[in-house]
Subunit: 230 residues, 6 copies
């Protein structure tokens, strides 16, 4: 991980509450910015100050990198959300690294569907079949495919964050995105007796040899999410 | 915990029945009031007397703090509920600490949705897509986001209480709020043989180092929820 | 438990089939009647004779207490059910102790909803939103809140009985009522090898110190449900 | 069990496939008939010959008892099913013992609902509320209550058979009937290593002291279901 | 099993993928044909060649038995499926042994419902109640009952094959058929460490003494599914 | 596996994210191409470059085989998807080996239903019954049957890839396809302490003797998915 992810990869970062998803995402951009990359952090329904507060504890000089234009944080409100506009912003801004926080927030908002040529592909043909509303599952899959396909066509490396609900199957809230991305990293708590520890697992990383073990992690100022050897 | 929560944080307090959610919430306001804070307790569908009865056992002098205007308890009936009005009351009252008891009660009442500019954001665009009613999950997420975003924009520290149903996944009844708040505390029973003990876990606390272990708790007059070291 | 429940408390008694819910409820009224209280047993869709048969085995002189007007049993048929009328009967009858057997039976009958000012609170506002029928979960929560709030406003101590289905989460069939009452008692079977024993647990008792352990119970003539120390 | 069930009791007999529900039911009538009772076996969607075949293995002289009018088997087809007619037949036939095989078959057929004064109780009031179809759960509960209440008002002892699906909660397919009857007996397989044994448990028997243990059973010609002491 | 099933019995054969359901079914017909029976194999949505390929490995001379008219394989396409026609074919062909492969495939096709006098039994009466579409569960139960009842009225011994999905309750995909047939046989994998073995269990066999244990099985040319003693 | 699959077989390859489904599929075509077969890789919603990137790590000379016309990769977009056209392409191209990646992606898109003569088979008859939309389960089963039946009628050996979601029952996302194919291979992670290993299991292989054990696998350049003996 120290060496970053393969260029152009789209990584799913799926984590339980409080496991450091935001810090991991910022760390990705922070390390990139110091190596000449240009990063965009896309927060959905969250404010810039709240995100900066979390990075402050890591003692990173985010302010400087933001002022230099090496990192930009934007906060989307779902009512204005559009996949097309987002992709346009990434492209025109020349960003080489992108974090989307979070896919779960986008998927819960069906209005995002409009971006897809639903009128052309689905609706006409469905009408002929039955006057049934689009199943929630279909809408979700269409959106996940659209978002991941769009971002992979851009010339950037990306992290897509998903919420991971305890004791539910799959590696993301939607159970679909983990099959479409190039890599999957999960952040979870493991209980050992009365102790609870944060852990990181690389569940998938296309075209790359990687550890498949559970790694304990800690938050370390100056570093961020620090992966400990078992 | 003794030192309170970071200023401006929005904390989710999620607990099983009888684990002391109300006492924990009042303890938060009581300690704050004695340190010059001004606190508001928002009870949904519950009466002031019932809440005061529970605090009486803790031997706190709530009456005095209430008379001094340092703590106020209001009881909302869902039929009059409005996120906008609630936020207005918090702001105009100058409250620096707020407890909402409970998010689960609010989420069960779809009329609260009206506060959201649903007509603008969702309905128009959905109509073009399919004549489908809003999925329950979407409505829930919209409300959770609206409530937590609104309260975090105010200048106060807050606890949002959620019901935690045994043996169901997630850290709240809705399984969404735990991802949006700054911190999550759960109160649960753990069975050891035929004994059952209340325990507290800090599951998440942004920008703060915290114990991740299970801590036994007891109710202690003069204190409230007393956290024991393991 | 010998000393009864705190005055004015509303207790949820949740049990598996055959664990003694009816006997427990009658024992509550029987002990109360002998201490000068006036008790009402509200049976839903069950007949008085069936209930008396169960108490007869306990060798209680119910007949005498009924003739003296100290205990009354009424059998509601759901088609005539009305929360308002029930509350009126409790108030006008001057009952200080009430048992409702069972909440589960009432919740299964949506017509009980009429008692709630649904036309005022919910329907108008929902119509503006979407032509969706009321979700079952919302209707259930509205009813549970209405019943428990109504009975707690009366000047009486009450037990509300719920059915507890094996291996399903929560402490009642509805998984909501346990959060709204002042106390929760569960009656369950525990298998040890090929033996199966009835047990009682106090899961919640507001403003009261109580055992949190599993207690074996037996049916004892003259007593009713007899709690054994572990 | 040797001594039969308490007079007038309505017993739920819930079993996995192949655990002997039909034999148990016939054994109940067979023993009764030899003690002067008059029994009716109500088979839903099954033929008389199939039922007789199973009893033949038990070496009971069913034919004689049937010819003497001491036992009658009727086979209902659901399209002609009516609770009212069934109750009339039991009453006019003077039956003192009844077996209904099975409740699960009846509950799967919504047309049985017609027997209930649904037009009076539910439909009018629901229309005012919302144009929602009756929830499946409500319809099930209404039917279970109607059937069990009706049969308990008759002057007979009865067994109602339910299908028990492996690894699903509750003591019957509907998870409601076990709360409404006077007694519950379950027949299940228990795996011990590679051996699988049939067992019987009395889960509930109102107004009666009874074993709560798991009892191995065997099929024994001349007896039927033979309960072995553990 | 060597001696075959009792004449006239309808057996449910429920198995996980790859456990030998087709071979077991063919073995049943093959052994019967050599004893003078006449057998029909009803494949739904599968081709004759695919079925013959599987039997070829067992080194049975199916071709000869087919040419002699002792075994016939027919492949139904669901769009032409009709219970009435199928029963007519069995009757007129004089078949004494029948295998239906599979019930799960038939149940997934609602058009099969037409065979049932749905217009007479259900629809008229439902219309009076509520404009609700037929619940999936009701349709399934109606079909299962119709198929099993029809085939049991014929003068033949039959095997009905069902798909058994791992880690889902019940003994068939529909969880209903196991209660209606005369016998149930399941074929499953059991993991022991890293080894996985096929096993057979007789879960139910009316009017017959049978082993209730788990039996390892193997595929043995010349025999088919070979049951090993534990 | 070294010797490939039986000619004409249709194999389901079901795997968790990151277990090597794509590499396994390409390895199948790569080995075939070197033995004179002609292979087609059908990717749904994925780009050719992404697939080639994964094979590059295996150090296979895909480029050469593609240029020679021995392997072809096509990328379908669901909006243009048609079972008929796909089958036509396989047939006219003279392909003897086909990989479809993935069935799960196709099943999520209801428009694929159009290929089926739904108007003839289902819709007319359903209209007479009830104005119900086609259940999701029925649509899924129809599609799975159509795809697998179509491909098995062609003169080729095929692998159909399915997504396997952790801790959900069945051997594919749809839980149906595993019953219709000739063979099933699953790729899963198994946790041993803090180590996680990829494993392969042959769950089903018609007309073939095969290991039923769990086999550890590794990715080996020049080979692809390398199966280790336990």
């Amino acid at each position: 991980m120290e060496g970053g992810f393969p260029k152009g990869h789209c990584i799913l970062l799926s984590g339980a509450p409080g496991t450091g998803k935001t810090i991991f995402g910022m760390q990705f951009l922070y390390n990139g910015a110091r190596n000449g990359e240009k990063g965009l952090y896309v927060a959905v329904n969250e404010e810039i100050d709240d995100i900066l507060l979390q990075t402050k504890v890591m003692e990173w000089d985010m302010k400087k990198l933001i002022d230099l234009g090496k990192i930009k944080i934007i906060c989307l409100e779902m009512k204005d959300f559009s996949i097309k506009n987002l992709m346009k912003e990434i492209k025109e801004g020349g960003y080489t690294m992108v974090v989307i926080d979070s896919l779960s927030a986008i998927l819960a908002h069906p209005m995002a569907l409009e971006d897809i040529d639903i009128s052309f592909t689905l609706k006409d043909r469905l009408d002929r079949l039955a006057p049934s509303p689009i199943h929630e599952g279909v809408a979700t899959r269409l959106l996940v495919e659209k978002i991941i396909t769009s971002i992979r066509r851009l010339d950037c490396t990306s992290i897509i964050i998903s919420e991971l609900v305890e004791s539910v199957g799959g590696m993301s809230r939607d159970t679909i995105s983990e099959f479409l991305v190039d890599g999957v990293i999960t952040l979870q708590y493991v209980m050992v007796g009365i102790e609870s520890n944060r852990n990181l697992m690389i569940r998938k990383m296309r075209a790359t040899a990687h550890s498949e073990n559970i790694h304990p992690i800690e938050f370390k100022p100056g570093v961020g999410v620090n992966v400990l050897m078992p």
